[in-house]
Structure formats: structure tokens, C-alpha cells
Symmetry: C2
Subunit: 302 residues, 2 copies
């Protein structure tokens, strides 16, 4: 049940020599979920050694160019590499129009099915996890997303072995809560499953001013990746453009009871952005500035 | 009269870790002319320390994604940086449709005038130079371009000084072929201008199979930057996808009497592509494989 987040681009608005355009990947089981896809994301994915073929879902926060201009190239390269598996794209209302514009960009290749769905504030069930979307406070309509692993019970190999449960589909049935018969004896899930373990949660704000909805969405999350475009001395400009300061992000992480905060969407005026990290840490200790290719494994709950 | 060519991306179809998507810049006087604009061109321009504000003309060879997906981001960043100067975009028929798709890509910003013109096979006069376009032999309609400096005569400072010609607008008049009166004496252009010097010429093929039209266009050029997607052992696949081999490019450079050949649009299957260079040099000695950020100053004719 490996869960890992990789930042693929941590810049804001325009790229810099050091930060790529906004994009973030969540690795879970055998899937890669991509959030936003700024220009150059395909090269960032190559440099992070992520197989394009594992990406099966893309979530877009909003339709400012810095979050979407990498989509045409990424989808084209997938076609170039003869992908056949479908891909699913999610985003706020307006996604349909944006994708149709992409199909109109010259000779756009279509080798595999591209499914898409416009989201409101909702929760989509993907089996082992759900993705919830909440409206943010930006200059254009946008969504923040949470990835929430469902609570689960560990399969106790030792107890199952002692009870003679074979390594077969039967174990899957038990995990899913069904009782089974083994050598004439009824085995119930409670006999082989451990305590209920709460799932892990990752939240990505996209571009937003400080928002109650995002704070609520981030409640008790393991990792919050939050807009932190400027330091507090530029608060006015920051809010005017629909963004948060590093301090705002830290206040939200604290209120939400997040375990860790990573600052992203860093204005190109900053280099290593130590000042943003310092400002955030004053409020919320477990904060850091995201860098391209920073990787955050999320440990299983005990 | 500085003239210089910089390769900004030398890959084909898909980017690699080592080669960016197709783009090439010609620096002439105070202008930068951009040819093609693959994804990531704006970052390549930053890394080459090219001011976006100096770019005033963009020429697109054809509308395959690898040659145009950098346009939305480049134009957006120009707007982000509050550009006010107009930009002129040229390309084959279909440019209108592509640009309208770009305007439809989310919230595309428009802070400055974007003029554009679809070209056939023609020659456009830009004052000190002309740009000629010729249809290529690719899988979709496309154009090769030549940049041709107009022949000119050097202003002879010594002779002008001896004749008492002041350093004023009068010198410009003489350069442009007008006679002037200095202290009651008539000075004709011939009295202060040197021999007629032939202009320099750079040709960029874009994507094409070996083409008579490109060979003709490249006649006596100083620099030919030519499609060289594969080595000759992949000739069949190469032609199927509408490209040239390194050997083809060399044969064309030789036939055209080009002074120098640079191979570009290198398939991601090659690394340093030494095999392409070797193959080309067998036919045409002054050939090399282009690398991202390679710079080619074009010397003035004697």
C-alpha cells in the first residue's frame, strides 16, 4: 500500500530556471495520479523516471495556462508511444471547452480513449480511495482536491496460516468482509483481519487565497501541498492575484491539523525561497518549501 | 550587422532528457526571429539568456504538436511580463485555426497585439532581409524558410571623413543610395560606399523528406539546418514519417552549395547521434549534429 507524492513543478505563473510549471503526482499502488499539468510536465516526468503509461487519471485545478499547457504534449507523447489504455481527465466546469481547444491545436493525435468529467464540489469513489473536490477562492473558478485512502484492516498472515486459509481468492473475499468456508469450517473476516486502520490523506490546494473550504478539506491530512506564492510582505498583491502567503498556508495547516505542509506555486521572484519557509515555520513547525522532484512518502497509520 | 543562429531544441516528436522540442532563433541586428516553438521553448530561451521582448516574429513550419505546443506558454509569459509590442506570427495555411484554438485554451491572456499571416510559397520583405517560404514534403502541409540578408555596400568611414561628411542622418541617406550636398559640394553614394556585398543566407527545412524545393531554397546558403531524424539504416521508416536521413541532408547541402550543414530533429533513439554526424560527413564535410544551445555566428562576406 505504497503512497508517495512527487512535486513535478513548483513555480507560479511563469517558469524559472529552477522551478517547472505546476504539476504534482501521487503514486498509489500501481497507479500514478497527476494533478495539474503545466508546460514541460512531460520532461519533468521523464527526469523523475515516471512511466507515462502508469498515469491513468489527471486532475486539473483550474484553467490558467500555467496549470494546463503541458496537457497537449503529454497526451501527444502518450499517443506517440502507442498507448492504448484510456485516460481519465477531471477538472472544474470548462474542461470540455479546454479539451476541445486542445483537439484543435494542429494535428492532435488520438490513439487511445480520453474520458473526461467536469466536477463540482463532490467526492468520487475510485475503490481503494476517494477524490474530493472543493471550490477555491481564486480569480477564476477552481478546485482543490483531496486524495483519501479508505480505512482498511490489515490481513493477518499468521492467523490466517494457523487457520489453514489458502493463498487464493479466498483471502480477497475475507479482506472484503465476506465469510468463507475452509475445509468445512466457517472463517469470518474478524478471525483474520486486524484493527480498522484509518486511511491516509493528501490535499492539494491549487491556486487559492486562504479558504475555509480548503481548511475543511485538509482536516487531519497527512500532507497538505498549498499555494504559497508570496511572503507576507506582499500580502496585498498576493490576494489581488488570488493567492496565499506562506504564513496563510501555515495557518491553514495548523487549523486543519495537518501532519505536514509543503509550500508550492512559488513566485519566480524567489530563489530557494528560504524566507517563505521561515515565515511558515513560525506558525507551523513541520513546513517546508517544495522543490521540483521532492518526494514525500506517506507512512501507513500504525 | 551581427547574424547568429541558436538552436533551442533539436529533438523529434517527443522530448528527451537531452534535447528540447524543435525551436531555433535567428539574431539579426536588434531582432530575434523564432522558428518553430515546441513545448518548453520559453525555458530554453531563458536558459539561452534570450530576452523574450526582442522576439518580434515567429515562423511556424507546420502544425504537428512538437513544433507548436510551446506557443501558448511563450505568448502567455510575454503577457505576464506586460509586453505591449506587437508580435507577428507566420505559418502555413491552418495558422488561423491553430491560433484560435490557442485563444480557447482556458484563460489565455491578451495584453499585446498578435498579428498573423498564413503563407504560401512566397517571399516577404522585411527591409534589411527577406524570408522566403517553400512547401516541403512532409506528412502534413509544411514550409521551409530561408532568411536572406539583402546585398549591401559598406559605408567607408575613411573616405566619408576625408570628404567632410558629418556623422548625421546624411550618412543614412547615402547608404540608401541618395546623393547629398555637403558644404555646397555634391556627394554621391559611390563616393562613400564600398563594393556591393552579397547578403548572408540561413535556411531551416522544418520536417521534410528530401525535397527539390528545399535544395533550391538552400542554394549557396551560409547555413542549412536540416531535418535529420534517422540514420540511413532506417530510411524506410524515415520516409514513411516524412523525414530525411542524415545522409539525405548532406546530399542536399552538397547539391545546394551550402557552406555549412547542421543536423536537427534528431530521433530520441539517438544520444549524441555521432552516427548521424559520421554519415553526413561522408558526403558533406562541414556537417555537424546540432545540440540544444549550439550557436552559429554567420560571418559577413568579405
Amino acid at each position: 500500500m505504497d503512497l508517495r507524492v512527487i512535486l513535478l513543478g513548483t513555480s507560479a505563473g511563469v517558469p524559472s530556471k529552477f522551478r517547472g510549471m505546476p504539476a504534482l503526482a501521487i503514486f498509489y499502488l500501481d497507479e500514478v495520479l497527476l494533478f495539474d499539468c503545466g508546460e514541460g510536465t512531460q520532461v519533468q516526468l521523464m527526469n523523475a523516471n515516471v512511466s507515462f503509461m502508469r498515469i491513468n487519471k489527471i486532475f486539473i485545478t483550474h484553467f490558467h495556462g500555467d496549470h494546463i499547457y503541458g496537457l497537449p504534449g503529454l497526451l501527444s507523447t502518450m499517443a506517440f508511444n502507442q498507448r492504448e489504455d484510456p485516460i481519465y481527465i477531471y477538472g472544474p466546469r470548462g474542461l470540455d471547452k479546454v479539451l476541445k481547444a486542445i483537439w484543435g491545436l494542429g494535428y492532435f493525435p488520438r490513439s487511445f480513449p480520453i474520458h473526461y468529467r467536469e466536477l463540482d464540489e463532490e467526492e468520487v469513489d475510485f475503490g481503494h480511495y476517494t477524490i474530493a473536490s472543493r471550490a477555491v477562492a481564486h480569480t477564476v473558478p477552481g478546485l482543490a482536491y483531496s486524495f483519501s485512502e479508505k480505512p482498511y484492516r490489515r490481513f493477518d498472515e499468521d492467523r490466517a496460516g494457523a487457520l489453514g486459509v489458502p493463498k487464493s481468492k479466498i483471502r480477497k473475499d475475507l479482506t472484503e468482509g465476506k465469510s468463507v468456508i475452509v475445509k468445512g469450517k466457517r472463517i469470518t473476516p474478524d478471525m483474520v483481519l486486524g484493527e480498522l486502520i484509518s486511511g491516509r490523506k493528501v490535499v492539494y490546494s491549487g491556486d487559492t487565497r486562504p479558504s475555509e473550504a480548503v481548511t475543511e478539506l485538509a482536516k487531519n491530512c497527512d500532507l497538505l501541498v498549498h499555494d504559497s506564492t508570496f511572503a507576507s510582505d506582499m500580502r496585498e498583491e498576493c490576494y489581488q492575484y488570488g493567492h496565499s502567503t506562506a504564513r496563510d498556508a501555515a495557518v491553514i495547516a495548523k487549523k486543519a491539523g495537518a501532519k505536514k505542509l509543503v509550500l508550492t506555486h512559488i513566485s519566480s521572484r524567489y530563489g530557494k525561497a528560504i524566507e517563505l519557509e521561515t515565515e511558515a515555520k513560525d506558525v507551523f513547525g513541520n513546513a517546508e518549501v517544495g522543490r521540483d522532484f521532492s518526494s514525500y512518502p506517506i507512512k501507513k497509520a500504525r
